[in-house]
């Protein structure tokens, strides 16, 4: 589909920098923007990881001895905010979404390329703002949840900078969401039906609906909170007649869907990776689509399970218990479908596959503790404890971050034309998997036995288990070294991958690696069966030569 961009792009060739400088420019190329998100996000991941390291160092001993107490609270607030708003959400949505979605719908770019660039370029300033608040005044100290009245009483400058930064990031997220919805619904190549799209498109459609519906609520809430702080209004301030619990409702109306904003795209990415490396079609495409949409709907009506101890009425607790538990059903469908996809396949035990399987293992664990947490009586004991810390790190790290790594190993040859080194990749996986489980599994026990979250000091009986957890964190920190070495060296010296090293059928592989500007030379391929693995060549439908057939015919092993 040739849109009117063509003359404009030609015009801007002389103005836009070429080569690596493109990645520092206001480029409107979706692939450049995708990589900008990814690299920018990874820098923030390293910063957030360093903050996590500071937390785990403080928790080596039961007394508060490593950081001043105020600094510790700043560190934990920054860690949560950086990891959620600057690493996971931008990378798993903006990064892979921008890179892949135009390919998947057969478009040459996103629907609104300029808005797309604006959405990305909101992120670095917002991130710098957030982190500089630590050096200028003091960073926010009230946790990433910023519950009033604490957020009203802690130093105002840091809290206001935090609010501004999150508002900018929320804006970026909404721009991205609108762009994805428009691209998926309106820029599909003629002849491509919705139910023929790769699963990641559905995941991003669902995610973007959540972003557009819930992020504005967070924005409004934070604006009201900033009024409470600056103008001394009393929306959430009980001493002025406000209600602190209303803030919690509004906050979680965004921040629970935010979990799905972080996890649904990961579900989509795994659905792309597993069929390719198992050489089998994605099992149960239709039920996958419905379960994504089921998660979207249910995800919007479960927020109060974060507030079971905050004086919510009993009927409300009951409703939110049932609604939350039921998310396990569509989620379960997806997991069983992935297992069935692998069953009977020809599974390549490469790093992308290992990280995907690591994701399944971790996420199932996090999902089981999640269903337990949904039960009010269970939650009342472990709410706001390390059990919850363990649970959500199993979801966002063991779930999403594992998928981010799997995706990097899977799509690196697409982006660079070179393969990542497999032995280094397996070392990376092993260190990450062991370190992660050593870090977060013991935290469940800590929570059950009486260690609350967000503390700099704790009961000495928990020392040993905390030290184990910190050891796991150290392994996780070390695991980034082989990864970084691998990514940098392979970019120059990696084994040449060819255009399609995985023999994949999805449209991003049906072009050169790395792809040209505007994605395809000539017509975009029309892929009706993105997961058409395992077919016999003679079974190919002869009606219309699809892109998948084009490469099959070019492959000597598969030529009939």
């Amino acid at each position: 589909m040739t849109i009117s961009l063509t003359p404009e792009t030609q015009h801007s060739v002389s103005l836009q920098p070429q080569g690596w400088l493109r990645y520092l420019s206001f480029s409107t190329d979706h692939k450049v923007i995708g990589l900008q998100y990814l690299i920018c996000g990874f820098i923030f991941y390293l910063i957030g990881g360093a903050l996590a390291g500071a937390i785990r160092t403080e928790l080596l001993t039961p007394i508060s001895d490593f950081l001043p107490r105020e600094t510790y609270n700043e560190v934990l607030t920054l860690h949560g905010t950086v990891m959620i708003f600057l690493w996971i959400v931008p990378v798993v949505n903006g990064g892979f979404g921008n890179y892949l979605i135009p390919f998947y719908v057969g478009a040459r770019d996103m629907a609104f390329p300029r808005l797309n660039a604006v959405a990305f370029w909101l992120i670095p300033p917002a991130g710098l703002l957030l982190i500089s608040s630590y050096f200028i005044a003091s960073a926010a100290q009230s946790g990433w949840t910023a519950y009033p009245p604490l957020s009203i009483t802690t130093p105002a400058t840091g809290q206001i900078i935090w609010i501004l930064s999150v508002l900018l990031l929320g804006g970026s997220s909404i721009f991205g969401g609108i762009n994805f919805i428009a691209t998926i619904l309106k820029l599909r190549r003629p002849g491509l039906k919705l139910m023929q799209l790769p699963m990641y498109c559905w995941a991003m459609l669902g995610t973007s609906i959540l972003v557009v519906l819930s992020t504005p609520v967070l924005a409004g809430t934070l604006v009201l909170l900033s009024f409470d702080i600056i103008a001394h209004t009393g929306f959430f301030n009980p001493s002025l007649g406000g209600n602190a619990v209303v803030y919690q409702h509004l906050f979680w109306f965004y921040s629970h869907p935010a979990v799905y904003i972080m996890v649904l795209p990961a579900f989509g990415l795994v659905s792309e990776i597993l069929p390719v490396h198992s050489r089998k079609p994605l099992f149960g495409y239709t039920t996958m689509v419905y379960s994504i949409m089921g998660i979207v709907v249910l995800g919007l009506i479960v927020w109060a399970h974060h507030m079971f101890t905050s004086g919510t009425p009993p009927w409300m607790r009951l409703f939110f218990t049932i609604a939350t538990s039921f998310i396990a059903v569509p989620t379960g469908i997806k997991f069983f479908n992935w297992l069935a996809t692998m069953w009977g396949g020809r599974i390549a035990l490469n790093t992308a596959m290992l990280f995907s399987c690591g994701f399944i293992v971790n996420f199932v664990f996090g999902g089981i503790t999640g269903v337990a947490l949904a039960q009010v009586p269970f939650d009342i004991h472990v709410h706001d404890t390390y059990f919850v810390v363990g649970h959500f790190h199993y979801i966002v790290y063991g779930g999403t971050v594992f998928v981010i790594f799997a995706s990097i190993y899977h799509w690196y040859p697409k982006v660079t034309g070179r393969l990542l080194n497999e032995p280094l990749g397996k070392l990376h996986f092993l260190l990450t998997f062991i370190g992660f489980n050593l870090c977060f599994a013991p935290q469940h026990w800590l929570g059950l036995n009486g260690m609350p979250r967000r503390v700099a000091e704790y009961d000495p009986q928990f020392t040993l288990v905390n030290q184990l957890s910190s050891l796991g964190a150290l392994l996780m920190a070390l695991s980034t070294l082989p990864f970084l070495v691998n990514v940098v060296i392979s970019a120059f010296r990696g084994e040449l991958a060819g255009d399609n090293p995985w023999r994949a059928l999805t449209p991003e592989w049906l072009t050169s690696s790395p792809p040209p500007v505007e994605n395809w030379k000539g017509e975009a391929p029309l892929v009706h069966e993105p997961y058409g693995y395992g077919m016999q060549p003679e079974e190919l439908a002869l009606a219309g030569a699809t892109g998948s057939e084009l490469w099959r015919l070019g492959d000597p092993d598969r030529r009939p």
């Binding site: 099992f283 379960g332 089981i368 039960q375 009342i380 059950l448």
Partner: protein, 276 residues
């Protein structure tokens, strides 16, 4: 003759379920139970632990088996079978989790009811009609009606940065630690002075946020004499981690002795200020 795959699957499933039940019943990861509702909680925990173990071990087993059994041999360029779905199978794995989740939901509702969580909110208004102040109710495992004959021991709890203050209105004792008699229902009337705190006693399996502007009632019955930590579980500022106290559960006589020793009324008039 080879044993049919269906029989092997059945046996694996049975072993898995039995192992899960055994783990749920015998692996103890909870602290000692010291209140009337803790054993109720532990019952739920064991069920969830069993179901969770069965699911987790089952799925990890399936993945490990698939990775080994269906791994790609070197040089193999072939594909797996083109199976795109299986409706009966998909219905099965939609229905089973739905039933399990529904069962767990109803069961935990029952547990919650037994813990007293479903008591209607306004049962516990502690005041007359005029300028009525609303009280939020946390878990109330005991009936607090006057008619039931059990008089709960009432304690006012004030949470502030960074301490809990306990006040016994009948005995006029103010203390930094909570002393309670075993076996008698306790009604904590809690309020927060500055920011949100949370009152948590892990051994009681009880937690309640204390929110400024929302006086909250939490009641429980301690069962096992001993000293247990009271932990603030909601981030409340720099010294949040240090906001800890102790609840001392005494035998009723020991508790009475403590009251007599500390109460200004008791020492002045020598009357018993607390009914038991």
């Amino acid at each position: 003759m080879r044993i049919p795959a269906a029989i092997l699957t059945l046996i694996t499933g049975m072993v898995l379920v039995l192992a899960g039940l055994w783990v749920g019943q015998n692996v103890n990861v909870l602290p000692v139970d010291a209140s009337a509702n803790a054993p109720v909680y532990d019952e739920l925990f064991k069920v969830l632990f069993s179901i969770g173990t069965i699911l987790f071990v089952g799925i990890v087993g399936l993945i490990a088996y698939s990775l080994v059994r269906f791994r790609r041999r070197p040089g193999d360029q072939s594909d797996g079978e083109a199976i795109e779905g299986n409706l009966p199978l998909e219905i099965l794995w939609t229905a089973i989790p739905a039933v399990v989740v529904l069962f767990v939901g109803i069961y935990s509702y029952d547990i919650y009811d037994r813990m007293g969580g479903m008591a209607p909110l306004n049962d516990h208004s502690m005041h007359g009609m005029a300028h009525e102040e609303r009280t939020w109710a946390g878990i109330s495992p005991v009936s607090l009606d006057e008619e039931s004959g059990i008089t709960p021991l009432s304690v006012d709890v004030t949470a502030m940065q960074f301490a809990f203050i306990f006040h016994y209105p009948n005995a006029e004792i103010t203390s930094g630690e909570l002393h309670v008699p075993a076996g008698q229902p306790i009604a904590l009337r809690m309020q927060a002075n500055d920011v949100i705190h949370a009152f948590w006693v892990p051994q009681f399996r009880l937690k309640q946020d204390v929110i400024p502007g929302q006086p909250t009632l939490l009641s429980f019955t301690a069962t096992r004499p001993g000293r247990y930590p009271i932990v603030c579980a909601e981030l409340c500022g720099p010294y949040h981690g240090g906001m800890r106290s102790t609840v001392i559960v005494d035998e009723p006589e020991t508790f009475q002795a403590w009251v007599n020793q500390n109460s200004p009324i008791a020492s002045a008039n020598n009357v018993t200020p607390v009914q038991s």
